[in-house]
Symmetry: C2
Subunit: 285 residues, 2 copies
């Protein structure tokens, strides 16, 4: 069994370093607890991502980056490597844990729902309305004002990949996207093979970073399918090199079907934490 | 130079056979005219798709399939093989030609916009508001009522792929999606590598059919990247076989970097038309 999580690519201010490191470890521990209790890889990645959605320090769920209108619009997705089942939501404004809604979409006749349609589907599945203002933190507001003033673009995302005791693979990713993004912008996170991908016999991957470029390079599909003929590290290296050649930086976490946790980044930093039967670790480097 | 278009997978009623065949040929001719005048592959595929969006017999633009709320919600995307630039729109309700809006997105900082955010972006780029009721045809309404009564799901999409005189490749796809789909549903059409993909040196592809399954199998990316080591027909065959194993049928059109137009389907029928420097043809089979 293995769980590996990331708390996003991009530079973390020194003052937040400890909080971020503690956050990814809490998410990792929650995912590991689920695996230990016999939960599926899907249960574990959803549980781990939920911890980070609820932690205001991460760009997902509560504390997510704000769009051009000053609102949090959330993207999230899950993929089950066993069945290639996929579920995603995009530009959702009134759900506390979009990763849970993405899992509901996976269990519907569709793979991706956006905006108010996704909200209506949430109500149908018993996921309550969450007041949009509760997703907005002081920190996110301050960052949004700073980005608008300085014209910078910053991004971040959270994600988890896992291999469970029955050899099943799953991936989950959740984000508020790029600060000051256009209303209705969808990044790589909820797109199959872009921000999120898992396939049995190969691996499960979740990406973070400059989503437009990661999506055009289909970095998670490219990484996972390259495992047929490449070492995991090389697969991540090549996928991120292509995204970088297109103009964007980022990071990917991946767990192989034989249980190796691997990560790589072209962005300045990425936070991560992992645990397997015989090893554990965490970092922000 | 080559242009190849499709008017969607799925069975066409005998009464509409001639209209559909004539429609794909008009689209093909318009794309060819653009290529002949020195236009780019991107110019040609957008022009060809626009003809089919405006033709009420096809499930795209005017005459698109209606969602559960009885409204047309449109998805469209373009990809430029030369630069891997991608632009898509999803769940747009008030634009006459979503393929033109998708091209505008390609020329923005984002790759995909949905819903009202996409509409706001359209206004910013000078694409006027198109009354949603004008997208709804009597035929689409009748089909929607029939599908709701009988519980069938039907789908269709239009698309075009081209190779221009300078060796550039492009793909474009546009759709109303599945009849009676949930509000906010996004299918394969506007997702990179799912419904639409192009990459220089390899090929350009556009898919149609049961989008949820085509997307999970990433059929266009899979087909195009397989050209490195497979014959085009085999590449399409394998991609569609995977989608079928997951549960969905469809069709793909593809043009190779050396100018071969190729198509394949697992759905009952697919309409298509093509023209190259030394050949032309059309069919609904």
């Amino acid at each position: 069994m293995v769980i590996l999580v990331h708390g996003g690519a991009g530079r973390v201010p020194e003052a937040l370093r400890e909080v971020v490191l503690e956050g990814v470890q809490r998410a990792r521990d929650e995912g590991w607890r689920v695996l230990r209790q016999g939960g599926s890889a899907m249960d574990a990645v959803v549980a781990a991502v939920k911890v980070m959605e609820d932690d205001p320090v991460f760009n997902a769920g509560t504390g997510a980056a704000l769009n051009r209108a000053g609102a949090a619009e959330l993207d999230a997705a899950v993929m089950d490597g066993e069945t290639l089942a996929f579920g995603g939501v995009a530009a959702v404004r009134d759900v506390k844990n979009p990763i849970e809604l993405a899992r509901e979409v996976m269990n519907s006749e569709h793979i991706l729902l956006c905006g108010e349609g996704a909200s209506a589907f949430a109500r149908e599945r018993g996921i309550p309305h969450h007041p949009p203002s509760l997703l907005v933190t002081e920190h996110a507001l301050a960052r949004w004002r700073e980005v608008r003033k300085k014209g910078l673009k910053t991004s971040g995302t959270v994600g988890a990949v896992a291999l469970d005791g029955q050899g099943r693979l799953a991936a989950a990713t959740s984000t508020g996207g790029i600060v000051d993004k256009r209303v209705g912008r969808i990044g790589d996170t909820p797109l199959v093979g872009a921000g999120t991908y898992a396939e049995k016999g190969l691996g499960a991957a979740s990406a973070t970073g400059e989503g437009e470029f990661l999506a055009r390079a289909l970095v998670t599909y490219r990484s996972v399918s390259a495992l047929r003929h490449q070492e995991p590290k090389d697969a991540l290296f090549e996928a991120l090199a292509l995204a970088k050649a297109l103009g964007g930086e980022g990071g990917i976490i991946l767990v192989t079907a034989d249980g190796r946790p691997v990560w790589h980044r072209t962005s300045p930093q990425m936070s991560f934490a992992f645990r397997s039967d015989d090893d554990e670790g965490a970092g922000l480097e």
